[in-house]
Amino acid sequence: MSEALKKPFAGLRVADFAWVGVGPLVSKYLADHGAEVIRIESSTYPETLRRVGPFVNGIPGIDNSGYYANFNSSKYGVTVNLKHPRGPEIARRLVAKCDIVTESYTPGIMARYGLDYETLSKGREDLLMISMPLYGQTGPWGPYMGYGHVLQAASGINHLTGWPEDPPIGTGIAYTDFLVPHFAAIGLIAALDYRRRTGKGQYIDFSQFEAAVHGLGTAILDWTVNGHNQTRMGNHDLEAAPHNCYRAQDGRYVVIACETEKHWEALKAALGRPEWCDLERMRRRWTRHNEQREIDRHLQFWLDDYTYDPLRPPPDEAPEGSDAPPIRRFTTDELVLHFQSFGVACGIVQKPSDLRKDPQLTHRGHYHFLDHPVMGHRSYDGPSFRLSKTPGGPSKPAPCLGEDNERVYREIVGLSEEEFIDLLADGAFE
């Protein structure tokens, strides 16, 4: 039966003017689930991610960036020079053949080329368009420029990340670029569903900043309701205790979190009920929260004693003359299995290289491998959810710059061969 089902977005065509992180990740969802997404780029000012690495073999090249490739699986690619006298008209003719327009330019840029919703939707009641700049279409910050790496600062992530009294380091990545696209996709698919039912399109004014604020847990309400301004606490938590990251003998880090009394009882059992666990002040979450430094010290000692580095295993027997039994019983992986078997919420701080070997991600088939004409056999991230009947995932590698110009402009836009060649020769597709 599932063979007969259509991919969710099959038959929808998207003119994707968005670039860098946020927009391409929104259209990746559409492309990975069946839409025909056409990335509209220019060789006169190539997409930022094509210009930064990692490059295969370390050789910079417009079609060689793993950064770009991962966010643009399953898409097609054309180029148009909007500064060419006929560029905007060609882009509009392409939009006329599309159902959805996505873009993430600073407000006003699309209008400069006659590619704003008002212009594009004339006579097109069904056109759906989303604009996704940093701060939205209006307001004093509307024209502000930036990147996910600094939007994480404006949207509270930096303030909430780091050690108390130390700088607000934030994540080491352009974090909001990977937070807000999911919000945008939810809004966009909701609008698509409305369109499917009514035939009516609409315009979505999406502000990355405004979406990111919904990722702050209780921080905003804690301020507006209680007047409490939450701030970074290292690896501690507002109320869970213990809640931290501890170093094992092999240098890897283990996180342990007790959000509930059940978690705490499980941890005590897993540790073998050392005496300190049963002190009166350790009994309840609220008092335990004040004892975190002491708990952290005990847990770190415990890890020092009970874990070992498989590259430097401990002796099987206690050293001669010592009564102490050898207690270094666990590799870091074994320690986590031991704790998990007692019901402790814990895990390893996995590095990107660990993720590639992670048996769970492998089991779920998270990484998709595709052959790119320039980059070769490379991995692509797939969606984090599995649809049982209409599964998604990367269907083709990212497009090379302008790879689909001829097919899209001839077959979809309907340019004659002569017109196409004239425009090409005149630089309209650069």
Partner: protein, 406 residues
């Protein structure tokens, strides 16, 4: 929509509710949903109806109680499921089956139903029954390894990002399944969402960087990592806080001259306005550590005596994408958000007060986002849902209450 979820699915359900779905939160009788015990609390007072987590993530939903451990409770849920479009559940595999919340059971009741299962690691696989909280998801999904300081190790984001990512990515899955149902003649399906995998999708270019360059990205503290190298500092202390500005506030890169001019105008260029420095800073060739230190020291001194929002305004006027480091209080008082009428007031008539909540995460012109009221009290809508939706008589409701089914 029926919402059986813990912290991994409540935001997901709320967002769909704000797009028009009628969301019914189903809670265990008496004890209520465990997340009602998650702080912080209104005025710091722990109680069933005072959790700010509960308020934030369950605003606009209805609440009914139902004991899924009892066959009568499961029967009620299945009658509700027959009327529902989407079910969200977060049971650790394989417990959904024993509660009658698995896709096989629910789809037998309602073939068009979409069941969204959001779990720590997914429905199957070696870690399917592993216990996790937010920090465990952030660790196992790699976010903590790219966040932190080379000397102090990995660090956690206080606002729970693994949970947020699990919620919103599953929300995309739910919407995709809903759209698929529309184009496939009403066929429902199961959405199997993993918190760990959601975090893995939030790692920027860490994955291709390992795949292609063999370099493991890590937390670079106040700096950035560029192409496998610890790059320039991007955080600077101001008189009143901090600002974030890449490439030492754009002092390094093609736009450097605009920032050098700014420093020179105030007499604080520290020699960087000399022609050879201008050439060096715009040359796109990596600086020596010594040179970079001088550039960073110049910017540190410049920012220290100024206010963060003044700095950002002036930098933006010079085409440099700076941003202030905002605290939750700063965000609540943001002029940008005020100008866009972002915040919404939510009435808590039970407390005789109204509070400010974040507003629309997307402004849809034809089908606008709606805030749909405060989070429900435990079982507040039992009569409404069981009576009106299922048509149970008051005597039947009393009987169910006596048997502790609701």
């Amino acid at each position: 929509m029926l919402d059986f979820s813990d912290e991994k699915g409540q935001l997901c359900a709320r967002l769909l509710g704000e797009l028009g779905a009628d969301v019914i939160k189903i809670e265990p009788p008496r004890a209520g949903d465990p997340s009602r015990a998650r702080g912080p609390f209104f005025r710091g007072e722990e109680g069933m109806e005072t959790s700010l987590w509960w308020w934030a993530m369950n605003a606009g939903k209805k609440s009914i109680t139902c004991q899924l451990q009892l066959a009568a409770g499961r029967e009620l849920v299945h009658r509700l499921a027959a009327t529902a479009d989407i079910v969200i559940e977060t049971c650790m595999p394989p417990t959904a089956e024993s509660l009658g919340l698995d896709y096989a059971t629910l789809s037998a009741v309602n073939p068009g139903i979409i069941v969204v299962s959001i779990t720590n690691f997914g429905q199957t696989g070696p870690y399917r029954s592993w216990h996790a909280t937010d920090i465990v998801g952030a660790a196992m999904g790699g976010l903590m390894s790219v966040t932190g300081d080379p000397d102090r190790g990995p660090v956690h984001i206080l606002a729970p990002q693994a949970l947020t990512q699990a919620n919103i990515q599953a929300g995309v899955g739910a919407m995709t399944a809903l759209y698929a149902r529309g184009v496939n003649g009403g066929v429902g399906q199961h959405v199997d969402a993993s918190m760990q995998e959601a975090v893995v999708n939030a790692l920027d270019h860490a994955s291709p960087t390992w795949d292609i360059s063999g370099f493991d990205m890590f937390g670079p503290g106040i700096r950035r990592i560029n192409n496998g190298q610890i790059g320039a500092r991007y955080l600077f202390q101001t008189k009143d806080g901090w600002v974030a500005a890449l490439q030492v506030g754009h002092l390094i890169g093609p736009g450097a001259n605009a920032i050098i001019d700014w420093l020179a105008e105030t007499g604080e260029a520290n020699g960087l306005d000399a022609p050879e420095w201008r050439e060096k800073l715009t040359a796109l060739v990596p600086l020596s550590v010594e040179d970079r230190t001088k550039v960073e020291e110049t910017m540190i001194a410049f920012c220290r005596t100024r206010l963060k929002e003044d700095l950002v305004r002036e930098a933006q006027a010079r085409n440099a994408g700076w941003a202030p480091v905002f605290s939750p209080a700063d965000i609540a008082e943001s002029k940008q958000l005020a100008a866009r009428e972002y915040y919404t007031r939510v009435t808590h008539e039970d407390l005789g007060e109204a509070f400010t909540y974040p507003g629309a995460p997307f402004k849809l012109s034809a089908t606008p986002w709606m805030q749909r009221g405060r989070a429900p009290h435990l079982g507040e809508h039992n009569e409404d849902v069981y009576g009106e939706l299922l048509g149970l008589e008051p005597a039947e409701l009393r009987r169910l209450r006596m048997k502790m089914v609701i």
